[in-house]
Symmetry: D2
Subunit: 304 residues, 4 copies
Amino acid sequence: MNGSPEQEQVADVQTHPSTATARVVSEGMERHLHHPKRVLDHGFVRVVDYMGDDAAIVQAARVSYGTSTKRTRGDAGLIRYLMRHRHTTPFEMCEVKFHVKLPIFVARQWIRHRTANVNEYSARYSVLDREFYVPSPEHLAAQSNTNQQGRGEVIEGGEADEVLRILKSDSLKAYSSYEFMLSSNEEKRGLSRELARINLPVSIYTQWYWKTDLHNLFHFVALRGDKHSQYEIRAYADVMAAILADWVPVAWQAFSDYRVNGFELSAVGVNCVRRLLKGEKVTMESSGMTRREWLEFEHAILKD
Amino acid sequence: MNGSPEQEQVADVQTHPSTATARVVSEGMERHLHHPKRVLDHGFVRVVDYMGDDAAIVQAARVSYGTSTKRTRGDAGLIRYLMRHRHTTPFEMCEVKFHVKLPIFVARQWIRHRTANVNEYSARYSVLDREFYVPSPEHLAAQSNTNQQGRGEVIEGGEADEVLRILKSDSLKAYSSYEFMLSSNEEKRGLSRELARINLPVSIYTQWYWKTDLHNLFHFVALRGDKHSQYEIRAYADVMAAILADWVPVAWQAFSDYRVNGFELSAVGVNCVRRLLKGEKVTMESSGMTRREWLEFEHAILKD
Amino acid sequence: MNGSPEQEQVADVQTHPSTATARVVSEGMERHLHHPKRVLDHGFVRVVDYMGDDAAIVQAARVSYGTSTKRTRGDAGLIRYLMRHRHTTPFEMCEVKFHVKLPIFVARQWIRHRTANVNEYSARYSVLDREFYVPSPEHLAAQSNTNQQGRGEVIEGGEADEVLRILKSDSLKAYSSYEFMLSSNEEKRGLSRELARINLPVSIYTQWYWKTDLHNLFHFVALRGDKHSQYEIRAYADVMAAILADWVPVAWQAFSDYRVNGFELSAVGVNCVRRLLKGEKVTMESSGMTRREWLEFEHAILKD
Amino acid sequence: MNGSPEQEQVADVQTHPSTATARVVSEGMERHLHHPKRVLDHGFVRVVDYMGDDAAIVQAARVSYGTSTKRTRGDAGLIRYLMRHRHTTPFEMCEVKFHVKLPIFVARQWIRHRTANVNEYSARYSVLDREFYVPSPEHLAAQSNTNQQGRGEVIEGGEADEVLRILKSDSLKAYSSYEFMLSSNEEKRGLSRELARINLPVSIYTQWYWKTDLHNLFHFVALRGDKHSQYEIRAYADVMAAILADWVPVAWQAFSDYRVNGFELSAVGVNCVRRLLKGEKVTMESSGMTRREWLEFEHAILKD
């Protein structure tokens, strides 16, 4: 794997000494800068650059909402106010750039977040490394019986062994074919890279630079860190959430309180809470909700 | 292939009878509506819906530029003026929605056009069909020696046979494994769909609804229809260009004249033209251009 | 006002006879097409074109989520499922284009919704009409004492008369100056339009074509139709909400139930509901909320 | 003007001491940081923060295009290659945040650049300062006779004096009315800020934080720095161009050579150059161009 892009980029770490700047600096973020965090079996997330911190959110908000806010609220109070009322533009004033290595099937979900800038490794220009995602045994799940898109119980024993064997051997076979088709000698020309790569599975790793603002990153982390999200992209969202908590601790706390750990009641849900508070007994059947809505409501509001 | 999404969607054609509308209607586009055009070996492009026509561009422009334009230019003149001066907003007033079936590696290039709306077939919810892109022999190209990202000469004979055999057998093997991992019976649970699909190559077909405005579609067609673009996405761009020519013939002609068939001179290029017009002999060496720049300049301006 | 852009555009209504199309047609929307709805004193909203209906949302969703959804849910059930789980992309498959006449200060709030296409009347090319927004007496409100950005009680009597007199006379004065500076004769050249217009107040009317997708329109209507929004833009949001209800009645109902008439509980709010259901007495002081949060919580959950 | 937002923000300069960072630092940009540059009579542009430099463009491009590019081109060569072939994504990897004070009519043109983040001073929350744009005498231009949107010759003498007098007195009158309507005492309540401000002309100054990426900033500077752009926004574009030249000198040079100082030939233009090079005499009449096209062609290619 000598000379692979990962190696080379990761080696960049040493080449970033400390320099003086008049920009705002987030001490929490400086500690993460350039250090790749492992995700899945071969992936990583690495902060390459950032702009702004909690104070930058406040600074932008004070331009919008005027100096009068200074008298009535401290910085944390203002950030919480912005989050509560979905005044999202001040959060857009912070920006972050990640270097990410991830399987193609994860990249395909990730790219659906359109408000971001991306530079991806091109398999037309370069040869991909022989690295494929293979789930660890505890993430080898059966199809859920109740959820069209989800996973059920973990597969074990002989079936698990068989699945892992297949995933490994098929990807190695595909990669051997890829190398063979690319190779040239006196007797063969070698297929173009842009064609040879069509033989590779979506479990192969790619990498990209991905840059977005804090508001869109919150949205990404909320959506892809949610339990309905596929485990493999959730693993990336979780690592990024931990970085966020160090970068903008006040905004992250507000986000947790108002978005992640809150609960959105529908009109029917509001009505059910009101009926319950009046002492009425409300069941799934009498709630007016679908089964899945009721289970979520029960979990959030009623169960211990 | 019974019951596959393609079949079902294509069968929709019959269910769209003619209805009266007070909206503007493009006769040229009505003829394309709902009829899939074949692209590559299993793909298609199908117009599902559209909004606006050449007149809608003019209508929006007249709001911006005032009624005085009516006196000085006809509709075609105004559209050409807008295109020449890159007044792009009136072109954004037309919208089109396509249903497209395409290999995943093409979809990955396509999705980089961010200003569009997309609904893609989800391999977490549903099982993918056994359809893979395999190049036809005349598109089986070797790696270019002069262009990092491109194709060189066509591969023929035994090497070609071998490549086609590999592409077919590897994809069928991957699909068999996919089906086997998904399958359940008394002895095996069956792997979840979202995991089983990671074994599939990027040559497998997916499909989506893709909706964009005319300005962004022009950009897509220009970029992906360009000779530096990979043949497989160019095949889609070409089909869409033909549809455009029927939908908004005046705008399409202006686009061809000012964007596609024009040539952008750099500051150095302007200088070379000026020197040439004064009778000076200009060569690659004395031009101040790189080799590739000079070849493009020579092709556009000097060669017959 | 002869020959003003409004007149001319509105006159377009007669020129749109019924034509046959193979596109989906929303009967509810056809009735609105081309008919301007009055908003404020001189403004209007007029549907110029549209694409899609409730069925188009379902059609796109079925591509994404597969045919299995057909068995388990009807169309309305699927649309409600999409709304509940914030699967927003199928809603983006509908598009609408409005012609709007509105005061500049409203236009400045409106344009902050970035995911839209806009062609605005240009005061560099054309002369603006002498039409200014002057509030009707019942909307002449004092500054709120409790809300930095809001209105308090209505101003009446002599103060109201004085305010209306000032707004009218200052705008007429500004317009006279505008006309004078523009005018040319033997003795004066006439100031360029792009400079003369800088004298006009933000209450003057402008107009534009504004095109967006259904998801972003929902967002616009929710945000600008909210009670914290300035009355003058809310008046436009309300008219558009009524049009939405006719265009996509099922999606609109789902939006009302899950977004507009629901209530978002923060982590603290969830905790308060749980404490209340256990019989604990919870007050503003013991709630852990700010005063404004508590008032909103009380209004949504506790009060009759 | 004590306590105005400008004063307060500008005073922030002192509070940004030098701190150590492991991020890339652009020495050229550090010199601009926090120092407001005057624009027009009361406006300014001030760099608040930035991310990246020329090296960051190269770093992102090397991920996309692979390490092979390192061997064949130096950094400057790669940046010029990217610019020439409109590979725009690496330029999106740099970001900048400005604090700008500008008249509302300029803000309205500026905001049409949608790919940016904005926090504007809100006249609903705060009272606007009494600062209006009044052109300096040399920018007081008559309407162009040949260009619908443009300026012609400078107005002088008595007409100029009259125009300046009107612009000043009308804006001061509007501001006095604004203050009067806002004011409250025992006898009057005071009109809400969101209503009182509708009386103010579009020449009044507002301010915002505006954040965008380098690719979009190039586009802004090219479009708004163009000679067809209104002088008042061009003044801002020119200041930003000078900052760009210090921030990313290599990218800026490439942009100048390939975009700003180049010339885009249409299909007809290519044909004219070819005819000229063959010795044919080509006139406006025989060129196939419109008058305006010909004049631009003549200016760029033929005239000294």
